[in-house]
Symmetry: C2
Subunit: 407 residues, 2 copies
């Protein structure tokens, strides 16, 4: 049989048209089969931001491997990411106003727009239909259709009597198809209800404090809290009771009267709420603060290795992991949330910038920018189980965020 086929193949040259057809079909089959092999679930995917090269790497946490690199995302300083509700697409918010939609299954850019001159972060609506970006220049929030990235609404952050526009920070999604954000120049908080996306309703809260620089929303979506750069204390809005207005909490939270040298204002997204307590990076001090979230009062302080940047709870709330500002940024410390003691210290290497827990908490990924590496730790044994190459990695974001308020 085999020799008969050989005979057919070589004895008589085939008509060129059929040969071309055959080759073409084979080519299509091959290219299709590569797509078929890429067919996979998306619940274990994530992205690593490579700031310097304007690229991201696609990762998966089931076998801890890197799947692809996607380039051309512009300036990714302070870039952040949210995910589509099906966990297939990522929205990358660049510093230069670029908004890029990435298809993680096809490992390519699905859509990209330059939506402003300068932007900082964004959010996806509760229903996953709207993507919002907070802009510095021109100051305001733009809201896009999550499918197509076409503009749905433009909210200039105009304040005062002369039509000035404020920089916008701390943009988060709020249950009930809303977004909350803060106005750096104006000292205001706004809540925009997009139940009717063509006609957003905006509620404004004025005089919340001087220069809100970042904000967070608690995991249940109830409390929106902004840090103030211009004074101590924080501004808090109870979103279940907006009629009560914005209140001041934690009067000593901030740079304080001594005006400590602050190497880096801590990220407020790094606030960790576990049960009744929030674990919070102090500003300028080598301390993690413990806050009772029923009273919003400080109940304890934990001495740590440096100025904390991210204070992140393992999903079961039993430990929190802390990284630090320069010059102490080669270290991670792990705190037991019952005893408030440091139970482990790790030295991953130069410039440990970001951490992300796998959804059920068994492993943690961390970016070690100065070593061009991403490391994976077992969170029970604290052993490093994997190390992977990345170019000046910073943020790490997993698709589980698609399912969570405020992430």
């Amino acid at each position: 049989m085999k020799s008969a086929m050989k005979t057919t193949l070589f004895k008589r040259p085939p008509p060129p048209f059929f040969l071309v057809l055959y080759l073409f079909s084979t080519l299509i089959s091959l290219s299709l089969s590569s797509s078929v092999y890429a067919q996979r679930g998306t619940g274990d995917l994530g992205l690593i931001i490579e700031r310097k090269t304007g690229s991201v790497q696609v990762l998966e946490t089931s076998n801890n491997t890197l799947l692809a690199r996607i380039k051309g995302l512009g300036d990714l300083s302070h870039a952040s990411i949210v995910y589509s509700r099906d966990e297939r697409f990522a929205y990358v918010f660049g510093r230069d106003g670029q908004l890029t939609k990435i298809d993680m299954l096809e490992q390519k850019i699905a859509a990209q727009i330059k939506q402003s001159g300068n932007s900082i972060g964004g959010a996806i609506s509760q229903d996953g239909r709207l993507v919002a970006v907070s802009n510095y220049v021109p100051g305001g929030v733009k809201v896009f259709d999550a499918d197509t990235l076409t503009l749905v609404a433009d909210i200039p952050a105009t304040y005062g009597s002369n039509g000035k526009r404020s920089k916008v920070v701390g943009l988060v999604d709020v249950p009930g198809q809303k977004f909350a954000f803060s106005l750096w120049d104006a000292g205001e908080m706004w809540v925009a209800d997009f139940s009717n996306p063509k006609k957003p309703k905006i509620q404004k809260f004025k005089n919340i404090g001087k220069n809100p620089y970042d904000a967070l929303i608690t995991p249940d979506g109830r409390y929106y809290i902004a840090g103030l750069f211009g004074e101590d204390g924080m501004a808090m809005l109870d979103l279940w009771h907006t009629e009560k207005g914005v209140k001041r909490i934690l009067p000593n939270y901030g740079k304080g009267e001594k005006k400590l040298p602050v190497y880096k204002m801590p990220h407020l997204e790094g606030w960790t709420v576990a049960g009744n307590r929030a674990f919070v990076p102090a500003v300028g001090r080598h301390e993690v603060l413990v806050i009772d979230t029923t009273t919003w009062k400080e109940t304890g302080r934990i001495k740590v290795h440096g100025q904390p940047i991210f204070v992140m709870a393992r999903p079961d709330g039993r430990n929190v992991w802390v990284n630090f500002a320069h010059p102490n940024n080669d270290t991670l410390q792990i705190i037991d949330t019952e005893t408030l003691k440091i139970i482990k210290e790790l030295k991953p290497g130069k410039a440990v910038l970001h951490m992300e827990f796998e959804p059920r908490g068994e492993e943690l990924w961390t970016s070690v920018r100065g070593e061009d590496r991403v490391d994976v730790y077992n969170t029970s044994t604290f052993e490093r189980v994997k190390t992977l190459p990345a170019t000046k990695p910073s943020g790490i974001f997993f698709t589980v965020r698609a399912h969570k308020v405020g992430l």
Copy 2:
């Protein structure tokens, strides 16, 4: 050019070998392209159990549609489902000892085994590598490789001095690569550590109370609580402090001295922990109990329409939705968790069996078995936004469970 090709095609009959090759390639291309069209994210998928026909339907929540029906799953009374960490595969635990692994992307059965004569529920390990099933006949827990469904460990629930085996109930995953379960006949709780899957370490707690019938684990994975059929009160194990042993809580929880007619013991998985409070179906009474989870004492009771079955919190914790036992099972009630008042009552139809919130809580799906329907409600407006056909639907399970302890 076109006519030249035509000439080539029809003037001279092609050699049969190349024609076959061409057709074969085309066939492959077509079959591959159908797979390619099925490529999609898996974060918005779910399954509906159709008990009577031994089938499930695959659904997606982005557009609220049904994608496929998969048959041949055996007896699905009281069936439950867990998901693989990538949210592509579902493990369906049948009543007749069948364990079926479903590939939701290819919409087919990926693997199936009959692992016992009679089983009730199962769990997936923290790392997603192990699937455990709790069995009545023969009594015990079997643990399988999540990829292949090959047996990894067999734990007969042997108790007492004569080698009897107990029925096993209330099997859940526990952070730290553990499983916890309860022994109906023995009145024991066991915690099995699978850090080394070939050599599980088992910790046994005896005399926990008479006939534990079901159990739950709190969302943080800390407290494992079993309901007792044979006496009032519940048995609680603090998994952070197993050295303290099992304690009795809620001494009045149960059928009580009056021996009320209980139409259906409430599902303990339906316990809802929101902040510091648990909202719990009373047994036999038309009440939802409010429990302080810092003291595990009852702090309030809410009068409701019937004997509650599932009491489920919207992911933001602001409302809880309640369904009821026969003969009041045509109704849903919604409670405001601040005021503890019923703010809405819905009448979906005959036999409302199960509810599942979309991950960020904007919609809720409910199965109306008596009407062969699944309904989708907007959780802000309480309007029904979609209704879909299903054959005697019962449980509804979304892939977000992959990312959560105890689900």
